[in-house]
């Protein structure tokens, strides 16, 4: 009986969490405007405030990418930093008022690591969503 209760609770919560992630994805998608094409992938992670989601990507030279990163139902809840593979810092959105999206123009192809975490002010847990688009 206890196991059934836990299973039901998990199922209900999973549905709620999915619903929240879907809302967050909608918030994020509006930043991938028509001059960008989505790479078709949704990157999601459930986070507590002290946790960091790591996102590995290869960005091609000669292309401009848009990274959109969101949590919750409004912009500015997710902090993200972009590093190269040697952990040199390329960008931090906290230096730009937690900007929900940013464009990256590349001279050469490179591998990047994006780290995302919740802004503690925004809440203690949440679904983080990241989307990538490339300029047409």
């Amino acid at each position: 009986m206890k196991q059934l209760t836990i299973f039901l609770l998990i199922s209900i919560c999973a549905i709620s969490v999915n619903a929240q992630c879907a809302i967050t994805a909608d918030v994020c998608e509006k930043h991938i405007t028509d001059d960008f094409l989505s790479d078709g992938q949704h990157y999601r992670a459930l986070l507590l405030t002290d946790q960091v989601a790591e996102f590995n990507a290869t960005l091609y030279g000669g292309t401009t990418y848009r990274l959109s990163a969101c949590s919750g139902t409004q912009d500015g809840n997710l902090q993200f930093s972009v590093f190269d593979k040697e952990r040199n810092l390329i960008f931090r959105n906290v230096e730009h008022s937690n900007a929900p999206y940013w464009d990256f123009q590349l001279a050469s192809t490179m591998d990047v690591v994006v780290e995302a975490q919740l802004d503690p002010i925004a809440g203690s847990s949440g679904c983080a969503v990241m989307l990538i688009g490339f300029k047409r």
Partner: protein, 304 residues
């Protein structure tokens, strides 16, 4: 109690349950805070979306590769696309997912070259496979109607396909089918690399050649992605193939030089000026070409 508070409680509950389940076999073992970065362990009916502090892996869009092929001036080559237009021959979920990825890459390639009629046929195949995989047929039906009304507008069609890919991936993730999603990405990546290697062999273009070598890191991301989805060993064969391919890619020389980026806040833009180059010898290119040919053949010839 408002909705966001309910969701917050659910998130905390779910995370707690998840962390408990990551701790090992013992029920009494305390949750480990530092277990978060590890790859998730899933069992039974746990939702696969519930990944905590997990690694996420990006793969280049097949459309991005198709755009490069067009940019360097390659002619449309129908024979590059999958010769298996009968989607019904794929009877297992894994075969359907991998070949949906293949068709998706073919679709991007056909669209870039304004082969809209061919693209429409491919889209119909995608609908069949997507339906078998549980992706809502209404996603495809709506898109096909819009597609028919915009057959001459390549840019609109590309946006629609990007939206379709995005929506279907979102749909799969919301329905705890991340393994299916990973296999679709796998099929698309293999098909794109198949295009690139075949055309590099024919055209000897330096940009295409570099693009092949640049898949070194994407391959590592792909292995990570498939590995996360290989919860019961079903995908061992794929991982083995990819690791063999990685052994070949390890021979690709890669150089990288860090240069301070320039950020333009008013444009919300950072210009990344670091420099990289790949050096891919003819021998290694041939090995990659042969191996990807073999992997791709195993995908499109798999029926069960």
């Amino acid at each position: 109690m408002n909705l966001s508070r309910i969701i917050n409680i659910c998130l905390l509950f779910t995370l707690t349950m998840y962390l408990s389940s990551c701790g090992g076999e013992s029920q009494s073992e305390q949750p480990k805070k530092d277990a978060a970065p590890e790859a998730p362990k899933k069992s039974g009916n746990e939702s696969s979306i519930l990944k905590v502090g997990d690694k996420l892996f990006n793969l280049p869009s097949p459309v991005e590769t198709a755009m490069l092929i067009e940019e360097i001036g390659g002619d449309f080559m129908e024979q590059l696309m999958s010769p298996a237009p009968d989607a019904t021959k794929y009877s297992t979920k894994n075969a359907q997912a991998m070949n949906l990825g293949v068709y998706g890459a073919d679709l991007g390639y056909a669209l870039i070259y304004n082969q809209s009629q061919q693209a429409f046929t491919l889209l119909a195949n995608c609908k069949k496979l997507g339906g078998e995989l549980g992706i809502s047929p209404s996603l495809y039906t709506t898109l096909m109607k819009r597609f028919e009304n915009n057959m001459d507008n390549r840019d609109s069609l590309l946006i629609m396909i990007a939206q379709l890919n995005s929506l279907s991936e979102e749909y799969l993730k919301e329905n705890q089918s991340e393994d299916i999603s990973a296999l679709i990405l796998y099929g698309g990546w293999v098909e794109s690399l198949y295009f690139t290697t075949q055309l590099t062999a024919q055209m000897n273009d330096t940009k295409l050649r570099s693009r092949v070598g640049e898949q070194k890191n994407s391959l590592e991301n792909l292995i990570g992605l498939i590995d996360q989805s290989n919860l019961n060993g079903d995908l061992d064969g794929i991982i083995e193939d990819l690791k063999e391919l990685k052994t070949i890619f390890d021979k690709v020389d890669y150089s990288y030089e860090w240069v301070e980026p320039e950020t333009k806040p008013d444009q919300k833009l950072t210009i990344i000026q670091s420099k990289s180059s790949v050096n891919l010898s003819d021998e290694v290119l041939k090995e990659i070409t042969d191996k990807i040919f073999e992997i791709r053949a195993s995908i499109i010839n798999t029926t069960a």
